[in-house]
Symmetry: C2
Subunit: 508 residues, 2 copies
Amino acid sequence: MRLRLLLCWICAFVLLANDCAFAQSRAVRAVGSYWRSHESEIVDELVEFLKLPNVAADIPSMRRNAEALLEMMAGRGIEARLLETAGPPYVFGELRVPAATRTILFYAHYDGQPVDPSRWVGHDPFTPVLRDAPLEAGGRIIDFPTHEKYDPDWRLYARSAADDKSPIVAMLVALDALRAGSVDPTANLKFLFEGDEEAGSPNLGALVREHRELLMADLVVAADGPRDPSGRPTLYFGARGIVSAEVTVYGPLRPLHSGHYGNWAPNPAMRLAQLLATMKDPETGRIRVDGFYDDVVPLTDFEVQAIAEAPNDDLEQMQTFAIAAPESDGSRLLLLNQPSLNVRGLRSGWVGSEARTIVPDRAIASIDLRLVKAIDPGEQVRRLIAHIERQGYHVVTDEPDPDTCRRYPRLARVVTSDGYPAFRTSMDLPVSRALIAAVETHTGQSPVKLPTLGGSVPLYQFTDVLRVPTVGIPIVNHDNNQHSPNENLRMGHLWSGIEILASAMLIR
Amino acid sequence: MRLRLLLCWICAFVLLANDCAFAQSRAVRAVGSYWRSHESEIVDELVEFLKLPNVAADIPSMRRNAEALLEMMAGRGIEARLLETAGPPYVFGELRVPAATRTILFYAHYDGQPVDPSRWVGHDPFTPVLRDAPLEAGGRIIDFPTHEKYDPDWRLYARSAADDKSPIVAMLVALDALRAGSVDPTANLKFLFEGDEEAGSPNLGALVREHRELLMADLVVAADGPRDPSGRPTLYFGARGIVSAEVTVYGPLRPLHSGHYGNWAPNPAMRLAQLLATMKDPETGRIRVDGFYDDVVPLTDFEVQAIAEAPNDDLEQMQTFAIAAPESDGSRLLLLNQPSLNVRGLRSGWVGSEARTIVPDRAIASIDLRLVKAIDPGEQVRRLIAHIERQGYHVVTDEPDPDTCRRYPRLARVVTSDGYPAFRTSMDLPVSRALIAAVETHTGQSPVKLPTLGGSVPLYQFTDVLRVPTVGIPIVNHDNNQHSPNENLRMGHLWSGIEILASAMLIR
């Protein structure tokens, strides 16, 4: 009987662990008390913020968001202002803390991905609703509670509920909560909220160069992206860069009848297939472009160990996505520290019921190259072009005229994007170790530590231009439908996210 | 002065040669006299016929076409009737000739390709118009002349103006013209006009089996397709068969973020490229599928010689279509006697401005296989599937469920069409040589003789099922926009086409 009771307690303990840490510091316990007694106010503030449409191209809407942020910051005694750029304004705020020895810049973004309201189920993307479970699990829309508690498994649905307005509210509430518990942050705090992140932060470089002194800090904490699926606090010390290349291979000037011309007129779809096939070893997945891995900086022992300690959900992901075997040897988290060459699109002629018996006039492959620390985007693209040339292709950048087509039996057009490099802050830096310790100590949970996030965010502007170590602290659930219709935030992740961000404010 | 006059005469003579043969037999000269004095009536009959919409799916319209044909034939004393099938009716007619020792079945089709009226310039596809030059050369719509002559370079624009109603009118007028000149055909004539050719003649096999005796002949003359670009009379003794295969290669169950999953989740676009690349030698263009060429029947010396004597316009075509070098060694006309593997379409993910940074969930290649004499469509497809399996793929025919995807690291779905085989009547047969001689003697021009037409027509029903030698005699201009908007017929080709078809009625 006693044993059964003990087991029950252990079960309850484990179940609670995801949402309420069990060995929290006094400071973060104070934060927990705060959010527990202010759930409705916190959600109200977030919901009002989510009601403001935030598609970056709509500048008047973006200004309304920025004004709302100024108010939200001013109400907390944060000295806030707009920093104007060619796009939507940045919102900057600063809070000086007496006796602070460090300065942390908290970064997040208030713009969201474009929306297609027709694909949102049951409501407009800018009319937030609460559901009693995820939509995919049959969650129904329920009223917002007024006095009762929020079930941690309820979900808040709206554009930017996860990406990236809730982290903004969470960091401001973290500050409220620390104050309510009479706990001072240990660092001066700066806040930078961007309005053009979803377009690849085209103005972040100019901003950082223009406001170098204003933005200067000892650490940048970027609150964006999803937390590890385990729900554990997650720190990412880098992210892959990206550059893209679109390769067009030419056949006859216009599509030709495959009967009258097939096996005489060169087929660009086959030529493109042959060209792409030279780029990757079909057995090992290793890219065969000369120099592709030359600049890769090996992980340190600490970083390799961090990956080994991180939850490895490869088998679960294989099950979920029906993958029989990964493309390469090694865990997914380890492979993210290698550059990639990904064919994201192919187009030539027609398929299915639209298929026509033609030799197509062209075939197109859209490729993205993910970059890791120290690989220059332009250099990686030049390696790809050199590889294409080594396969006998004459490479052009503009649409070739017929005379150019007549001259070169193998002709490829390669159009590249500017792209941007990866960033990777060393986990071994004192400030990195201090941050890891602060999160671990205050939340009572060992954080998942990733040297490199798979996705790309242009935070190299902080590491390479501002020269400040930068670490990402995502707080939202991994199944948030980021960038898609029916984006959502799990309530339990908001609460624990407040605690995680508070812990980062207590770095020693 | 005399020399200059002589040169002028030679020039005029050469210019005339394309439209009016210069060493015609008396019989075909009579045909020439006939059409020259009946141009308006001939065009009127064709125009009225072209006004009848003839998209095969529209059965009531097809019946109106068939009724019109019955009238056109009855008016000429041809005993005509409908032969019913599951689709539009066939129209069959017969004309017995006293003292004839042979029977020729003239085949053509009265259905046309579907139309998109929005892409026809200046008129509806079923409202024929006359232009003073090709549309591409700035040809303007002109009134149909009432008493004046038709310029041979004028063009008649309408659906089926070339494919394939004008050959039907031409063969009926050829008969009128022979009679007007008191010349008897040398063979009994049968006529078979199909209403479902553009859909691949799905009912021709059943018809041929059901009406074997009725259709029996010594020779089938199929009046379809374009004449050689030189304008010379053209005889094709075969056509390639066709079968198609759509290959789908699978990646993750749904598209995945190329940052978080790229170089871990298998990329189906790259896999498909690697698979397709194994199918063709990039240097020689030779297909690397085992057994692909096993059943090819070599051309006879006479057939090889016929190709050597045919106009070789490869360099001109390369110039026109901006091709720097053909895919394989050998002339285009020679290569048409080899089977082909043509990638007619590729689809995976997105390209261009729609590109998304994903690992696609699937990649599709639509392939057509052109067949030559003696290659079985089903067998050729089995060879392709065996090749895919040899590359390590598990091949399925239906959309695989997730469990199947989880089981096979390389999984391909192959969906094949039924297709049909090639046909090739030997040029060395007595009846073939007799036809060649008749066309040469009566038109005064050496015909272009092709063992195999590049395109596919299911005339194997005549050669393999009815077991009657079959030869194609196309009459229309090669630049007729067949199957496309703005289909047209060059008037000069109609006139000389009447003479060519008349010559086939005079076979000895």
